[in-house]
């Protein structure tokens, strides 16, 4: 799923630059809208299944798989530091 998030997010990044200089182009606007919707869905699904990738996805009640910093698996906690650090090559 992370691969899909990467691809969709890169599409958003690239379209952002294009739309910065072509803000009226309808085809690009439509693509941006689609990619952005998909990105939001994917980020939400990833946070529910694994861990949050952005601060806006942090939710102590829906994702608590990590046992780090908790006394028992599933304990309500701040999930922001769950999961591998991106530079450790973890979530590929």
């Amino acid at each position: 799923m992370l691969q899909e998030i990467n691809e969709t997010s890169f599409m958003v990044n690239d379209l952002t630059l294009y739309l910065d200089t072509h803000p009226l182009e309808e085809a690009a606007l439509l693509q941006f809208q689609k990619a952005m919707e998909k990105r939001k869905e994917l980020l939400k699904a990833y946070a529910e299944e694994f861990e949050p990738l952005t601060m806006d996805c942090v939710c102590p009640d829906t994702n608590n798989h990590s046992a780090c910093c908790t006394r028992y698996a599933g304990q309500k906690h701040f999930t922001w530091s769950d999961g591998p650090l991106p530079w450790e090559g973890g979530s590929i």
Partner: protein, 203 residues
């Protein structure tokens, strides 16, 4: 990966430009204890930090420092907006103006350009966290110095906010140091480097 939020962490609205004040505050942009050095320090150190939670903390504080960099730049920008040539000449801003007009360029108040030698990334968790604690205190002292000589409340308010954040970061780094130490030999924290001699870390 980073995303930009199109807002300042603390609002900046300065109605009375003052290039002299700007030339002092610029030290918190590119000076020895400025926000650029702070952000680069934490974002450079985080990769080899042996504890995941501390790596995460360095990421979050390093990110917040980028937001502080933006606040400082907004202050300098507004303090030097719509200057006349006469104001440039009489306000102690002329030397900077010659090279950069009113653009933002990272430098210390005394004219020394930003340099990576302002910070360290040493590859030893204890060494680096002490550096971070010292850095927050040095930045706090610099804000104290600025707040002491600047009278305009529109400039003082964001500086006071930034000063407070240095204190919070100092506290959090202190906690991070405690966390690292809890994985080490309490009889001799300096027996080995937790980032390199990983075999000694208690798990």
């Amino acid at each position: 990966m980073w995303n930009y939020e199109k807002r300042l962490q603390f609002p900046v609205k300065i109605t009375r430009p003052c290039p002299r004040t700007a030339s002092l505050i610029i030290s918190q942009f590119g000076g020895p204890d400025g926000e650029m050095a702070a952000s680069m320090r934490y974002l450079s150190q985080r990769y080899t930090m042996p504890c995941k939670e501390v790596g995460g903390l360095l990421t979050d504080i390093g990110t917040e420092e980028l937001g502080h960099l933006e606040i400082i730049c907004a202050i300098i920008y507004q303090l030097t907006k719509n200057l006349t040539a006469e104001q440039v000449k009489t306000s102690g801003f002329a030397a900077y103006y010659v090279d950069h007009t009113t653009a933002l360029w990272p430098t210390a108040a005394a004219g020394v350009p930003f340099n990576a030698c302002e910070f360290q990334s040493k590859g030893d968790a204890i060494t680096d966290l002490f550096e971070d604690l010292a850095a927050e205190q040095k930045a706090r002292t610099t804000y104290d110095n600025l707040i002491r000589v600047i009278e305009d409340p529109e400039v003082r308010e964001p500086l006071k906010f930034l000063r407070q954040r240095e204190l919070v970061h100092f506290q959090r780094f202190g906690e991070a140091l405690e966390k690292i130490k809890s994985d080490l030999n309490a009889k001799n924290y300096y027996y080995f480097n937790p980032e390199f001699d990983k075999q000694f870390i208690r798990k």
